[in-house]
């Protein structure tokens, strides 16, 4: 359970921070198997605290991932509209808002709140209404979410999936409401554990993004981690000494035994090591500071490379590399040597040229085989390993599958070309391929 301190954004009169934050709270009760009463109770407590804080807040249920558009998985280059010119208007409306909220909203009250891991707050120049209408999620969505999490075989994969969905949801809320930055409350200890866990999960390539101060992989919305210098112990003491109100809700792995998931194991390992060697966490943290985000090609002007479908990092897999285990893992291109059969029912290539016709026949196995391979192909190594624990992709929210379909269609020509080469490399037993080539 993670505690986050909302530092005195209004109280720091010496260096008053010049942005207007809002708070997003995600209700993950359905994923954790909480009863509706327990969720409602936790939500009520949370709202009480949020109201005293005085910033605009949004409570979002995790079930809303089923309503997300596929565009949430795309990376936009520019900032959301309305940042520059609207500043004055934003400040005006903020001042009005403060006036309306009265003295309690102003900087006097300890604007410190604590929540669990799902509390993160965006900062913006475009404040919203103090309250967002919350529509309780429908039973069907809750059911679908439970089904999704129940179908995942291991706790590790569940946690990773939860993390991904949570990120997408926060991103969506941030984009909808015009927030340009999202601040999360990961502490030093938490990030050190995350670093080691990421290494164990095969996400070593993205450590700099996962644990660095700022994470710009989403393009327009930047995720920053201002609390990364404070250890959990400091945070806990601070919260206690300053009587910061907190709400605790059980998470996915509450009361799980130590070896239930890689996250738990790593957490136990790090904390135990820290007990005996007090500089463990800070050493790991300092090491993470040295990680540099090197661009893959070193060319900023070039077209952005393909990105992972779930975590949106630049793909670290070279699909043409058949010498490694990754190549063997992705039989998508290499085993497409099935003889092309009857003409396609739906035109999969928009250009109806003769040349394309030939590879269309050969590449159609791409369409015919299950979409699972199509989705897997677009994931980074870490996400692929997680997907192994998900026996079927059906329970996934529709936006993920839709985006996967879209991307595979747009990169079809590449698959076509590879298919052509493949057919040349193999015995020329495919007549159609030869006739297809002009």
């Amino acid at each position: 359970m993670v505690w986050q301190v909302l530092e005195g954004l209004s109280r720091e009169s010496a260096k008053r921070l010049r942005f207007v934050p809002g708070i997003v709270c995600i209700d993950e009760g359905a994923a954790c198997g909480l009863s509706p009463e327990a969720r409602a109770k936790a939500l009520a407590e949370m709202k009480l605290i949020l109201q005293t804080v005085g910033f605009p807040w949004h409570v979002v249920a995790l079930e809303e991932v089923f309503d997300l558009p596929p565009s949430v998985l795309r990376c936009f280059a520019q900032e959301p509209v309305g940042t520059e010119g609207a500043y004055k208007a934003a400040v005006d409306s903020f001042l009005q808002q403060q006036h309306v909220l009265g003295a309690e909203g102003a900087g006097d009250s300890p604007s410190l709140a604590q929540g669990e891991e799902q509390l993160s707050w965006p900062c913006t120049q475009d404040p919203q209404n103090p309250q967002s209408p919350d529509r309780p999620p429908t039973a069907a969505q809750t059911e679908a979410l439970s089904r999704l999490f129940d179908s995942v075989k291991t706790l590790t994969a569940k946690e990773e999936l939860l993390q991904a969905l949570r990120t997408h949801l926060i991103l969506h809320v941030a984009r909808t409401h015009g927030y340009s930055k999202v601040m999360t409350g990961d502490s030093c200890t938490r990030l050190a554990i995350k670093l080691m866990t990421s290494l164990a999960l095969g996400r070593g390539a993205f450590l700099a993004w996962d644990t660095g101060f700022s994470d710009e992989r989403h393009g327009d919305v930047v995720v920053v981690r201002p609390m990364r210098e404070h250890t959990l112990k400091e945070v806990a003491f601070y919260n206690h000494l300053f009587a910061v109100p907190s709400v605790f809700t059980p998470a996915l792995d509450t009361k799980a035994p130590e070896k239930a998931s890689i996250h738990r194991l790593m957490e136990a390992f790090m904390l135990r090591l820290q007990d005996q060697f007090p500089s463990t966490v800070s050493t790991v943290y300092r090491t993470s500071e040295k990680l540099v985000k090197a661009p893959r090609d070193g060319c900023a002007a070039g077209p952005p490379g393909p990105r992972c479908l779930l975590c949106m990092c630049a793909l670290d897999i070279d699909t043409a590399d058949s010498a490694t285990a990754f190549g063997a893992q992705t039989p998508l291109h290499l085993s497409q040597t099935q003889p092309p059969t009857p003409p396609p029912t739906a035109p999969c290539c928009s250009a109806g040229m003769g040349r394309v016709q030939g590879c269309c026949g050969g590449a159609r196995p791409c369409e015919r085989e299950d979409p699972r391979a199509r989705v897997i192909e677009q994931l980074c190594y870490g996400c692929r390993v997680n997907m192994k624990d998900l026996p079927s992709l059906d329970p996934l929210p529709p936006y993920i599958l839709a985006e996967a379909r879209l991307r595979s269609q747009s990169c079809f020509p590449r698959a076509c070309i590879e298919q052509q080469i493949q057919e040349y490399l193999v015995e020329d037993s495919d007549d159609e391929a030869q006739t297809g080539e002009s």
Binding site: A256, R264, E267
Partner: protein, 101 residues
């Protein structure tokens, strides 16, 4: 030869889940031969207060790493950890900083 002590034991950060959700416990420790220290208190808690999953709270002789102990709002490391002798009306606070429980 220790007189009965009255101390307040409090749990935070999720540790209260192991104690039926009750955060504050005002307990009276019975008089016994040796003076009460944190070590004995932990054994007493395990026997009397802990409702489930003792391994999530206590590990061996001490608390599980990741659980902070504050004695009268001070870190127990400054007061001798397990060997600190309890006084009457002390306040012991256990805060869990762990992800689960």
């Amino acid at each position: 030869m220790a007189a009965p002590l009255s101390v307040e034991v409090e749990f935070g950060g999720g540790a209260e889940l192991l104690f039926d959700g009750v955060k504050k416990h005002q307990v009276t420790l019975p008089g016994q031969e040796e003076p009460w220290d944190i070590r004995n208190l932990l054994v007493w808690i395990k026997k009397n207060l802990l409702k489930e999953r003792p391994e999530l709270f206590i590990q061996g002789d001490s608390v599980r790493p990741g659980i902070l102990v504050l004695i009268n709002d001070a870190d127990w490391e400054l007061l001798g950890e397990l060997d600190y002798q309890l006084q009457d009306q002390d306040s012991i606070l256990f805060i869990s900083t762990l992800h689960g429980g």
